[in-house]
């Protein structure tokens, strides 16, 4: 059967619609940001952005619905399954590289740029610009304190971040248990472990939001607080976005389990989301170590 006919779908309207939606999203976001930076109202930008987001949401529902329907109609061979597996693996690899860019920026400023600004090494000559600057990490006193007032304090790793680490690592285990249960066709247990995973993800997000509020209102740790704030919020922020997306995907998977989808043999949708969730978990471990602890 491995060379059964490969399913080549009929014409589809989703791609062109999705391109239009993406264009509206991008154009809307650009217009909105320019308007905000020029201190104008963002009416047009907001409208385009919302239209694009709504359209994209509907398209994703429709497009994935299409794929799920085809899958459940038995149109997909084992070979198709392998295409999806390659596709998802390489997509996750692209996500790894996206985070790598921000981690690379973090390492560069910590190991090279900030010490150089403080007068260290061959490039220490750049200290001429800000002779009173001394290098430190976390950077509480950026060179130009007027434009970039440093943070008053930073998040301690041993409170919420440690708790969040435990939550995410646990959620990886509960998700694996759900997968094991699915392989044994124990559907009640699948539902239970999946539900628990989602709850853990949501608690993580709640804590993360709480941490941001604390950072902004009590610690003075903001995006504008110099390079520490910039790297901190970009890395944790993009991670948080990925957890949000992952949680959403888990909720959809739970919905599909409740609707009777997936069996012990065929459940790639489930596995893809699980891979994604583990990837998000591993990124968090990197964040915990390099952003919070060290």
């Amino acid at each position: 059967m491995s060379h059964a006919r490969y399913y080549v779908p009929e014409q589809s309207r989703w791609p062109i619609l999705a391109s239009i939606a993406l264009f509206l999203l991008a154009y809307g976001a650009g217009t909105l940001m320019n308007a905000l930076s020029a201190d104008q109202g963002g009416g047009l930008g907001v409208a385009l952005l919302l239209a694009g987001a709504l359209m994209m949401g509907l398209i994703l529902v429709g497009w994935f619905g299409n794929v799920i329907h085809e899958s459940r109609s038995g149109l997909y061979s084992e070979q198709m399954d392998r295409s999806f597996r390659w596709g998802m693996s390489w997509f996750i690899f692209s996500e790894v590289m996206f985070f790598a860019a921000f981690f690379g920026a973090l390492f560069y400023v910590r190991v090279l740029a900030v010490p150089w600004l403080g007068g260290e090494g061959e490039k220490g000559i750049s200290q001429m610009l800000w002779p009173n600057f001394s290098a430190e990490w976390p950077l509480f006193n950026p060179p130009d304190a007027e434009r970039f007032p440093g943070p008053g304090a930073v998040i301690s790793p041993w409170h919420i971040p440690l708790l969040n680490t435990c939550l995410l690592v646990t959620s990886s285990f509960t998700l694996t248990l759900a997968h094991k249960a699915l392989l044994k066709n124990a559907r009640t247990q699948v539902r239970r472990w999946l539900f628990l995973t989602i709850v853990l993800g949501l608690i993580f997000l709640g804590f993360q939001a709480y941490e941001y509020v604390e950072a902004y209102h009590e610690l003075g740790l903001t995006l504008q607080a110099g390079i520490y704030g910039a790297t901190f919020f970009m890395l944790t922020g993009f991670h948080g976005l990925h957890v949000t997306l992952g949680t959403l995907m888990l909720i959809i998977i739970l919905g599909r389990v409740l609707a009777g989808h997936f069996d012990a043999r065929q459940h790639f949708g489930f596995e893809a989301v699980a891979w994604y969730w583990h990837f998000v978990d591993v990124v968090w471990l990197g964040l915990f170590l390099f952003v919070y602890v060290l």
Binding site: A18, L22, A26, F102, P142
Partner: protein
Amino acid sequence: MSTLDTTMATETGGHHGPAKGIGRWLFTTNHKDIGSMYLWFSLLMFFLGGCMALMIRAELFQPGLQLVEPGFFNQMTTMHGLIMVFGAVMPAFVGLANWMVPMMIGAPDMALPRMNNWSFWILPFAFAMLVSTLFMDGGAPNFGWTFYAPLSTTYAPPSVTYFIFAVHMMGISSIMGAINIIATILNMRAPGMTMMKLPLFCWTWLITAFLLIAVMPVLAGVVTMMLMDIHFGTSFFDAAGGGDPVLFQHVFWFFGHPEVYIMILPAFGIISQIIPTFARKRLFGYASMVYATASIAILSFLVWAHHMFTVGLPLAGELFFMFATMLIAVPTGVKVFNWVATMFRGSMTFETPMLFALAFVVLFTIGGFSGLMLAIAPVDFQYHDTYFVVAHFHYVLVPGAVFAIMAGVYYWLPKWTGHMLNERMGRLHFWLSFIGVNVTFFPMHFIGLAGMPRRIPDYALQFADFNMVATLGAFLFGFSQLVFLWNVIACVRGGRKAEARAWEGAEGLEWEVASPAPYHTFATPPKLPESLR
């Protein structure tokens, strides 16, 4: 199950042709349709970017400011680079991959056909957005295609925001396209086609796709940092907050250097298909070609800072990046040697695709050698940001990447259209382009070594003669591309009937199917021909 079987038969059966009307192109899932759209889009962008190049060359025809404002000149150099890199060269290679990879490996289509269509249709929207910046307040991006911070952040026109989002869209398109190509090559090969029997065009594209997936997200990362610096007060590229403008260059070139190989590896693949055909010999050193391509790809991640020798790197950095860069000459030399060795004692004929391929080997090697000169850090202090650099990368990109694309188009046009091309017009196009390209770019070596800086609309009087020559060459090269356009259209519309094996010495699965290739090929996997077993 019987209804299911009938749906399967109608939905995957190879008996029906393309849909009618515009819907065929908007909603298609067919790799050949999508390949054609990529190629036409790329040709359109090639002409658009070419017009900008001619505007640049027209301004540089004489010293002094004649035709355009310096600000507009900067917009032209920026947009010319962006459009040629992301709009012309990359989509052309993706178009060729779409057309040829499934046919070369015996697959019914690309692995994920709907996503394939999405990858394409993002591009016209992304470029509509990018080109629309020309008409915005403050003008289009004017900071060069490398968009160094703080030129592209603190001092950028407001249109930079749209530029950033356009880059995001191109990145999404490229990543999805690359994922599709990898999944196709790894998963859709006909039984018996092992990896080491894969046609080299597929091998080079497999490795290119890996590079794309590895570095397009880094580009997305760097433009996101720009966006945050511009609109949300972060200080990634601002030393006043503890960041570093040099950080921009590091992240950008970590993308940018693999990117230049993304634009040349598929060209290597095309040339490795064409030379054996017209030399009527098997490719010399197949395995070493594969390993050389892979080595070039791996090395491409370790050489990015050779673009930044003058930025003030520590000495250890200068040395490391200098030697690592020179190392790339080894696998590249292997490739050039193999092409020459393939031709050695072959029964050569010189049809248009072969002419372009031969010119590629010679002129790309010139570009490679000037690259080697630029790799020498102490010497680069003299060359940096001069026309020598412009000469170097145009030699690898125009008679390199672009000639390879044209060679590929001429080589596979009979398969696509069912007609042989007009050889006389093909040769005319080749000779005009060959002369034009050398007259344009060769003098730039001299004015560059003499110190003429790039991206400046005016220059000192001693550079006047060579600039005039270069401009004349550019107009010759530019207008001779109309011959190419004419030739392609003529070949689509008619011409001598092409056989399945359109070229006498051509080997491979794509030459086993009829010309023009039927709308659906290989609905079931083919048996490999004798030559591939």
